[in-house]
Amino acid sequence: MTAVLQLTDVVRVHGEAPHEVQALRGVSFAAYAGELVAVMGPSGSGKSTLLTIAGGLDQPTSGAVTVEGVDLARLGQPERARMRRTSIGYVFQGFNLIPALTAAENVALPRELDGVAPRQARAEARQALEEVGIPHLADRFPDDMSGGQQQRVAIARAVVAERRLILADEPTGALDTETGEEILRLLRARCDAGAAGVLVTHEARHAAWADRVVFLRDGVVVDETGADRAETLTEPAAR
């Protein structure tokens, strides 16, 4: 089974020699279909850089990034943009909806940018909104929605058109615990349905929704947990 996302020895250096900052120092990491991977680390550990590189918004200084077998480094800007329209979905902490567009139009955005006929894009958007449980908000503008609703729209936008890689950057950061949990449940469901997800967070409680947790410290992966043996840990002895 091939990874949907594969990072190999990714190094990212910001700035020039005397003031350079090493955001990532040789990170290798993969996310497979049907799997949600959490990347945990404190501020400055390079989590967000990892995500922008995985989405082709940023280029590694060295190392390789492949998405669905395609090496992003080999692609030009336009092709990388096309990958984001068709293969990679982004969910941000700040929701990042366009306030001038309705919920449905925000969701349809990647499709429309891809040249899909507006009517069809709209239909796909409605379906995606249905999946995240807010079909009735399709014609609302972001300013008229709660934070949780906005983030649901953002998730709908990230999954519309069956994109296979979902990158989420602290998607629950601005939400209360229960709403945040619902958002994670949606992400989880999407991954259970076959997508690969990467969730960047600094909160253990959210990372726990993942199948694997990757610990990032100072731009390197220091540890990784997979989870097995469910019930054993509920023994009080574990405490």
């Binding site: 955001a23 390079g46 850089t49 918004l57 940023d58 982004y90 941000f92 306030p99 940018l113």
Partner: protein, 883 residues
């Protein structure tokens, strides 16, 4: 107590101003844009003011060019009773005429024993390299110290003898230069030309005029002055000539321009009672100026408005925090207004400074375009300060609306990070429609054709309509946003974003609308007037044909000479001698009338064929008659009859036989003497124009029967006549003994000014529109940065940004143009009515400049969008932050 209040108020302003200053420094690009928008108009107007004041020569500045080094210049009149203002050029009055002018002796009784230098101004023809041209002549001894400054020598010396002359550059350029011979041609009293040969001993500048031809000779060079020439002007030497001296000389019938009085005029009360007043500025002119200033102010405010709105929005979060911690609305308002104060002050001062600097470059250019020499470089500080104040005011006004909006903003929404504005007010469109209604009513009232029209009312109504339009913009923008649901993404985004940020889009759209309204209004006025002129145009010959009208006393030799020049100069154009009735005799003119019984047949003509009645045995082709009338006309001419030409508005002939009556009108006045008459077969030949070149064509038999004197009155030339060839031929014709001219009918030629005005309108409109659109688009793009980042994250192509930029420009331009165009019709139609009023038919004419309209309403917005789209950066901001 009040002192405390004042100081606390000042304190509030101090904080606001400090915030504004910091904000201006922090957002440099935005501040630069704001400064540019305020600075440019201030700069242009202050530069224009300086150029105007420099080119304008005041009484005091004109002293040297008028009187050289003298204390005064005296102009004795042929009367003994004159009154004058301090500067006689501003006004003089005199009583009885034909009295002997004051003598030098009489003048000396007033002024005492002073040097007096006679000066005359005259004119003459001179031979140029190509032919003949006219020149002005200064007849004075320029070597005298009193005359110093009247003529500045660049090269050579002043004349020492009567056969010497100095010329200015304008003469030297077209004819003889230094050391050559200048041949003047004076017409002797008997009408013959007398050549006077003069040696050019100097070249220089005449003090008053730069481009007109001037030459200076000693008195006597042109022969002795005749009684008709009147007394010469006198330059007066010695001490100052006081105002009481001037009054005393006025009593002798001498008009005086005194150096002392011009440079330091006495109080108004010193003037003779009937010379006072009457010089106040025209109220109407002042009000029109006020209207223009209001219009420009409105435009500047609208153009600068978006930048201030965006600045205020950028401060919204700060202001919301201030409000949350107990700030008053007044403090919020002040903080935003302070931006206007800072930008207005800096922009005003900077604009004036740049304007004055620019005017030093503009003055020499303007001088080259002006015939008169400019006065000394002059900065009218009071006016310039007013202009700077105008810049300050426009910045302040541009900040007013955002300031009030800021003081009323929804603190919660701002702190929650919502970026949009609420729904547009429901009241504003009503106010807008009412204002537009008022504008229409005012325009109708102000444009009653044929008197009763008031430019003021129309101008005022135009401003009211434009203001009304501004109130309509928000709802229109909101409506466009609603309609945009089905548009492609960039357009939809642009329309929605425009509606969400009305504070910045409304003024931009209104600026475009006001510009378009102005362009359309003036375009309609100019086009309507041109159409009216065209409709009223009467050709003198069929279009393309030409004719040389010959003098009545032309000798056969002269006719041959003219024909020879035409043959050589225009070998491809067929010529025809025109035989016509010689209407003017030595002491009388002929009167030829047509009648049918008691009913007179009125005829008219408008032509250059040297006669109103042609004599020919068949209808000449150069009359432009309708071909289907030719057969009948030729038949009548063959029968010895008369063919009467009927223009578009003349009635048909009452019968096919007419009585032709010939009479004589003595030049000295008196009754028409009837000589003879004849009953002749007649036919009409119609001319499909407003006028016919002659009244009628007589058959040779008829002319003989009525014993009418005939001659070659003109030579008709058929097309094609080239412009270049025409110029050559005309120079030769002017030099021929007959001194005639070939005139060519080219049909209605719209005045060059009309076309230039239209081009200027389109260009100016384009610039203002581009300005309004660009500022709004620039601000929108920088505001939409987060949205672009989002689009990039979901995979937008880089060119999406271009698409959005172009769409934004299109929305602003198109909505503005579509709103502005109908508004422009209000004053446009109003101005065109009095302009095109036809007294005869008491009708008016309305011509819509469709190409201009199309260009401005559709073409310019599309072009602007294209330019913006091509110029916009196509890089999307990518999320790249250090965490």
């Amino acid at each position: 107590m009040s002192g405390g209040t004042t100081s606390s108020r000042l304190g509030g302003w101090r904080v606001a101003l400090r915030l504004a200053r910091r904000e201006a420094w922090r957002r440099k690009a935005q501040t630069a844009l704001m400064l540019l928008l305020i600075c440019l108009p201030v700069m242009a107007v202050s530069a224009a003011t300086v150029v105007w004041r420099t080119s304008d020569v005041s009484s005091a500045e004109s002293v040297t060019r008028r009187m050289g080094a003298a204390a005064a210049v005296l102009t004795p009149q042929q009367t003994r009773d004159v009154a004058q203002k301090f500067d006689p050029d501003d006004g003089t009055a005199w009583g009885a005429e034909n009295e002997p002018p004051a003598t030098e002796a009489e003048i000396r009784t007033v002024l005492g024993d002073r040097p007096l230098l006679p000066v005359r101004r005259d004119s003459a023809d001179y031979r140029t390299t190509h032919g003949i041209a006219g020149t002005n002549l200064l007849v004075a001894d320029l070597r005298q110290p009193l005359a110093a400054g009247l003529f500045r020598l660049d090269d050579g010396r002043f004349p020492r003898s009567v056969d010497e002359v100095v010329v200015n550059q304008a003469v030297a350029d077209r004819g003889p230069g230094l050391g050559d011979t200048l041949v003047l041609e004076r017409r002797a009293p008997d009408g013959t030309k007398v050549p006077i040969e003069l040696r050019v001993v100097g070249v220089g500048d005449y003090a008053d005029s730069r481009t007109r031809a001037w030459a200076a000779v000693l008195p006597g060079a042109l022969g002795e002055p005749t009684a008709d020439d009147g007394p010469p002007q006198l330059l007066v030497g010695g001490g100052p000539v006081t105002w009481s001296d001037v009054r005393a000389l006025n009593a002798l019938g001498v008009i005086v321009a005194s150096r002392q009085v011009l440079t330091d005029p006495p109080p108004e009360s010193a003037l003779a009672p009937d010379m006072r007043g009457g010089d106040e500025g025209d109220d109407t002119a002042l009000t029109v100026l006020g209207l223009v200033v209001a219009m420009v102010l409105l435009e500047v405010v609208l153009l600068a408005g978006p930048a201030f709105a965006v600045r205020a929005r950028a401060q919204a979060h700060t202001l919301a925090l201030v409000a949350a911690s107990g700030g008053t609305p007044a403090q919020a308002r002040r903080t935003v207004l302070a931006s206007g104060v800072v930008v207005g002050l800096v922009g005003g001062v900077l604009g004036v400074g740049l304007g004055i600097a620019g005017s030093t470059l503009a003055v020499p250019i303007a001088q080259r375009l002006d015939a008169a020499w400019f006065g000394p470089f002059e900065v009218p500080w009071a006016l310039v300060a007013l202009v700077a104040g105008f810049g300050f005011l426009s910045a302040l006004l541009a900040a007013v609306v955002p300031a009030f909006a800021a003081s009323r903003q929804d603190v919660v929404a701002v702190l929650a990070g919502r970026r949009g504005e609420g729904r547009p007010s429901r009241r504003s469109p009503v106010v807008g429609l009412v204002l537009i209604g008022l504008g229409v009513a005012g325009s109708v009232a102000g444009s009653r054709p044929g008197g009763g029209s008031s430019a003021l009312l129309v101008g005022g109504s135009a401003i009211v309509s434009v203001v009304g339009m501004i109130f309509l913009v928000p709802v229109v923008v909101a409506a466009v946003a609603r309609l945009a649901a089905r548009l492609p993404l960039p357009l939809r985004f642009a329309a929605r974003d425009a509606a969400r940020h009305r504070m910045r889009t409304v003024p931009a759209i209104a600026a475009v609308g006001a510009t378009v309204a102005g362009v359309i209004a003036l375009g309609i006025a100019v086009t309507s007037q041109a159409a009216s002129d065209e409709q009223g145009y009467s050709p003198m010959l069929p279009i393309g044909n030409g004719a040389v009208s010959l003098p009545t006393d032309a000798t056969p030799g002269q006719v041959d000479e003219v024909e020879e020049i035409l043959r050589k100069g225009l070998p491809d154009a067929p010529r025809e001698r025109v035989t016509g009735v010689v209407m003017d005799g030595a002491d009388h003119s002929l009167d030829i009338g047509l009648a049918h019984g008691d009913q007179r047949v009125m005829t008219s003509y408008w032509g250059i064929l040297g006669t109103s009645f042609l004599v020919a045995d068949e209808l000449p082709g150069y009359l432009g008659t309708r071909p289907d009338d030719r057969a009948a006309a030729d038949r009548v001419l063959a029968d010895g009859g008369i063919v009467v030409l009927r223009n578009r508005s003349e009635k048909a002939l009452p019968a096919d036989r007419l009585t032709v009556e010939v009479g004589e009108v003595p030049f000295e006045g008196g009754e028409i003497a009837h000589l003879r008459h004849a009953d002749l077969p007649a036919a009409a030949a119609r001319v499909p124009e407003r006028s016919s070149p002659v009244a009628a064509v007589l058959s040779p038999e008829a002319a003989a029967l009525l014993r009418l004197p005939t001659a070659t009155t003109a030579i008709a030339v058929r097309p094609t006549i080239e412009k270049g060839a025409l110029k050559n031929v005309n120079e030769q014709l002017a030099a021929s003994t007959a001194n005639v001219e070939l005139q060519v009918e080219r049909g209605y030629q719209p005045e060059a000014a009309t076309r230039i005005i239209k081009i200027v309108l389109a260009v100016l409109g384009g610039i203002l529109m581009l300005g309004g659109t660009l500022t709004a688009t620039f601000l929108a793009l920088s505001d939409a940065r987060p949205d672009f980042a989002t689009m990039a994250a979901v995979g937008a192509r880089p060119r999406t940004r271009r698409g959005v930029a172009a769409s934004y420009a299109l929305v602003v331009g198109l909505v503005g143009a579509l709103l502005g165009a109908p508004i422009g019709f209000i004053p446009g139609v109003a101005i065109s009515r009095p302009l095109t009023y036809d007294d005869v038919t008491s009708s008016t004419l309305l011509a819509i400049p469709w190409p201009l309209l199309g260009a401005v309403v559709v073409g310019l917005p599309l072009l602007t969008a294209l330019i913006v789209g091509l110029a916009a950066r196509s890089r999307l901001p990518l999320v790249a932050r250090l965490d």
